[in-house]
Symmetry: C2
Subunit: 475 residues, 2 copies
Amino acid sequence: MAEKITSREENYSQWYIDIVLQAKLADYSPVKGCMVIRPRGYALWEKIQQNIDVMFKDTGHTNAYFPLLIPESFIHKEAEHVEGFSPELAIVTHAGGEKLEEPLVIRPTSETIIWSMYKKWIQSYRDLPILINQWANVLRWEKRTRLFLRTTEFLWQEGHTAHESREEAEEETLTMLNVYKKFAEEFMAIPVLTGVKSESEKFAGAVDTYAIEAMMQDRKAIQAGTSHFLGQNFARAFDVTFQTKEGSLDYVWATSWGVSTRLIGALIMVHSDDKGLVVPPKLAPTEVVIIPIFKNRNKGEVLEYAHKVHADLSAGFSVVIDDDDQNSPGWKFSEWEMLGVPVRVEIGPRDMESGQVMLVRRDTGEKREVKAEGASEAVKELLVDIQLNLFRNALTFRKEHTRNIHDYPAFKEFFEKDGGFADTLWCGSAECEIKAKDDTKATIRVLPFDQDHHEGTCTICGGKSAHRAIFGKAY
Amino acid sequence: MAEKITSREENYSQWYIDIVLQAKLADYSPVKGCMVIRPRGYALWEKIQQNIDVMFKDTGHTNAYFPLLIPESFIHKEAEHVEGFSPELAIVTHAGGEKLEEPLVIRPTSETIIWSMYKKWIQSYRDLPILINQWANVLRWEKRTRLFLRTTEFLWQEGHTAHESREEAEEETLTMLNVYKKFAEEFMAIPVLTGVKSESEKFAGAVDTYAIEAMMQDRKAIQAGTSHFLGQNFARAFDVTFQTKEGSLDYVWATSWGVSTRLIGALIMVHSDDKGLVVPPKLAPTEVVIIPIFKNRNKGEVLEYAHKVHADLSAGFSVVIDDDDQNSPGWKFSEWEMLGVPVRVEIGPRDMESGQVMLVRRDTGEKREVKAEGASEAVKELLVDIQLNLFRNALTFRKEHTRNIHDYPAFKEFFEKDGGFADTLWCGSAECEIKAKDDTKATIRVLPFDQDHHEGTCTICGGKSAHRAIFGKAY
């Protein structure tokens, strides 16, 4: 390693940036707030895309592509939408050497351009549902940015669906929320809370916004994905009606839902440690690194043996072999730990003689000697175990830092000290949300689906409670 | 089919647009010159991406992502580059509610932003080569657009590589040209000519531009992909030097190469017919459509049998079954022919009784009855045969419309009548290129690699020839 990674304890923010830069996941670009996603970071995005895209297709969706540029007037057609997004827009005023008659905005999200097309495509219930997803770049002019977590331009997917009934659209909204939850937990090994957002935190133009929320190692929250029930808001704004089965005319019901390259930030922040990046095996572009350990006198033999093991393992896994002879094995161990490869295979002269290899897992550092011919099976088990262990650790951490809090002094003390998720009761007023935010920086992450015990007194004002609410400080 | 497709003979341009719109591959958008790629069109792009991306990775490349926006001053750093791209730029002047200090342009191509990053990443020969590809959208403000073939925004991949020697960069340029040729011929079933471009047709900023050129059914040419040897032009513009193995300092050598959604336009124009789209099996999102033929009295049995065949074939192919009972079998045959599915399986009551199915190939319309249990094997063979047949037909067509022409009256007559590829000798002067273009609209598509017989007289001016040159009218 060229440089040392700052420890989490010393400076959590710097630790995060050190990992992103030193593992070459991303870099700052000459354009303020825009990042470059380097090959190691983009490989993570490709794994995310491949796996979640299968889940989209399994739930009946197809991909399409809509224009980057949107006539400025479209953004103004939905009242809340324009209010939410206007401050963040980048505007094209000139093109082809001329001033444009109407300025174009770079999409901050695509509801408006997509619903202008849905107007063309939808006449009757026979044209419904439309279940389209788009993989694209979007742009929101942010004042404060942080690599992956908040950047002016980011990559994402945005689903936009059109339905003939409220019920069907609401069901779609929750189906996609569950796809996100499943993906976060099973692939990213990140446990997430789900629920609905309060009025102040919902998407500009939505009736209801649902989210998956994850806890980072600094106990702050990340909104890792959102699924919006849009009601008939965009259908009204773009006058998209359809002939119902009964022959009447009605506005179309809508949803939209998205996850972005922010997921990579969450992945880093949940699993990594002071040695560097830790990647859950199911999303690891490289699952195994083989490091042969040799001296000049036995180099040939050891390398031959190591390459044989490499060939065997490559049949089932994504494997690299680091047989460079400039760097010491110790240097290589640190380097590949920093890069987050889940399993290291060490092969020295003694392993060769005994027909063995040494497996070292990235998450715990635990070592295990296995017969070379059984290595594939052992690696397979190890990858499954690492995946589960990362999820278990993250879940334990979240549980340890989630507290039932029902009085305001305790609430303030919680967020002054360690913080985490405060499981509270809330009266439903925006005033209490503002007060909590002003006093502690904590906001409502979700109103969880489980509202069985929402009766009592508001943790903030002491009035009658209306909801169970999870508060946390958010990225 | 709702509407009839215009025949090629009647109006070739309208035939093309009819197919794009009626097969729902793309649609016009509210933003001038920008298209919407609909799910059926995007599915083709996904197949193209998946297959060519494997070839990029097999040749050592990795994917990354660079910002959409480029500081305007960057475009000005390379003299030819700015001259070529300035007229086509879309410019962001305002963002986040404020006027920007420096305008930003939406990338028309990414050499400049990428080389500004390579300057950060390259110090020594140890940092080379860099072999990066990007899948992205780009924008060029075009005056005249046509769905897929020329649109203001389009999707593409752009490879950008950095090397320590001229030889290595030149080799990379040709490696990628050959990847494109192989992809075009083996996957798209489109035979292509390869060679170098003349000075007037090369990329703005390149030393040499190589291209693959295909002939459409109207005998016009499409430049389907380009690979550029950039020399040290961008390294000089962005001051990217490296320490050589010998310890001296040198500018880095570069290449760039790209193919775009234009490939979909070429695919349509080469293979389709008056019935609609024809897709080569290797790129067909749906390979097989099953159409059960039933009356009310035998509907249940026939559908059961058809669904069994569907289940069997789905193990090996991408199959849909059209068991809707609103439309007649004849209507469905036309509809699925229009959509370009390579193999149709017809299953009626008699087929059921005899344990057979009828296979119909999209390219020739030929029918063949096979035993249901051997259907998978037969479909497999048929798909291979269709793929080869499409390539053979396209190659035959190109040969029939390629002519050796060595005098100017014949040249002019050729392009006045049917046209095609004129295999000529050329003196190398821009004047002759301009004269030919003014008189016939034909331009040099490539100077082919085979220059064995380039000695003689220029087809245009009669002077001493310097090159063998292929002329054609281009899209």
